[in-house]
Symmetry: C2
Subunit: 217 residues, 2 copies
């Protein structure tokens, strides 16, 4: 299975690396990392750098496309070169997927019209602007489109896909291999259970950054 991750400046590393660590362990997985150019991209905090191994133009087809999120998705929503590429690749995939705000790239490409989709909880509702149906689930599947919620949800997305594609033995072996037996110290990872003052402050901060990244006053 040919799996392509789209990488771009300003991505959130865990959005990509979570599903990568799962999907790359599937039997027959061939993973590539595509970017505007073949080279280095920087993550959202400008610190960790990941390397692409292909330019967009080098990749013309794949079985599974994964678009991670991060504030760097905002410019992509208006970048016709990227959106054209996403549309063209989507015509070749068996599954087109995203993590966190990566769903906005799929939505801006017109792929989620009338479809249920999710994103980071603080941004999700804006998917409706592209005709998608914002859906508050950790992993949302609609036809061949799968969208995962914020950042760490990409791990759950990856495992659900491994289960679907390869069955429980392979999925369990991958899960045990990455010892994914989560034990959060606090129960604050869901907006419905995090303390209200934390949620509201974070929503305000993320919305401000979102508007800034989109150039909205």
């Amino acid at each position: 299975m040919k799996i392509v991750f789209l990488l771009f400046d300003g991505l959130t590393a865990l959005d990509a690396v979570g599903p990568y660590e799962v999907l790359s362990r599937m039997p027959g997985a061939e993973v590539r990392f595509a970017g505007m150019t073949a080279g280095t991209i920087v993550t959202g905090d400008q610190r960790l750098r990941l390397c692409t191994d292909a330019a967009l133009s080098d990749i013309t087809a794949c079985d599974l496309l994964v678009v991670p999120g991060g504030f760097g998705t905002r410019p992509l929503e208006r970048d016709e070169r990227v959106l054209e590429w996403v549309r063209a690749i989507d015509k070749t995939t068996t599954m087109t997927t995203s993590v966190c705000t990566g769903s906005f790239v799929l939505a801006a490409a017109g792929l989620l019209k009338g479809r249920r989709a999710t994103s980071h909880w603080a941004m999700r509702d804006r998917l409706a602007e592209y005709g998608a149906i914002p859906t508050a689930e950790r992993v949302v599947r609609d036809g061949k489109y799968a969208t995962a919620a914020g950042v760490s949800a990409g791990i759950d997305f990856g495992l659900s896909l491994a289960l679907e594609l390869h069955g429980p033995d392979v999925a369990a072996a991958i899960q045990l291999g990455i010892e994914y037996d989560p034990l959060p110290t606090l129960d604050a990872g869901h907006p419905g259970r995090a303390p209200a003052h934390i949620r509201e402050a974070l929503q305000a901060r993320l919305t401000a950054r979102d508007r800034e990244a989109r150039g909205v006053k």
Copy 2:
């Protein structure tokens, strides 16, 4: 807080990126990625490449050292240049930490003698060869040393450290920011709950790779 991740060829990306995504969000965090040289390193499956931004010799002190795991830790157990650097940095840290088999680098450097420590479940017992006390917990703390279990445990480690250093509001905001509300599809991430045939097959496969990576017949 100056945080340094040790990167090396053959690391498991999620071991580093999980805690990075948490720790880099702590107020005042300054993150650097140190490697044998400043440049590119490849992860365990030879596909994803991460960039170091400092050579070992560029880093002489930090507050928090994080050593991730992966099969690439085996050569490091006998690499005096790396072990000397780890010992020297450890003299300057307030915390010295690891994820997965990163604990073997700390152990080989002599830092875990007589201390409780953990690692990937399939490898953990071998820590006793270095005088450490293998401990089956997701995150083990002994003095200023914290060791996390396999791969994905680095996220829980990061959040537990954010809680300790910055209190519940900061830790909750980070957890909500990365939407860490895990929802594994299967309950197979713990060796005690994974199906026995999966666990035994994986243990055999990982042990064989471990011996090969260590050059043991």
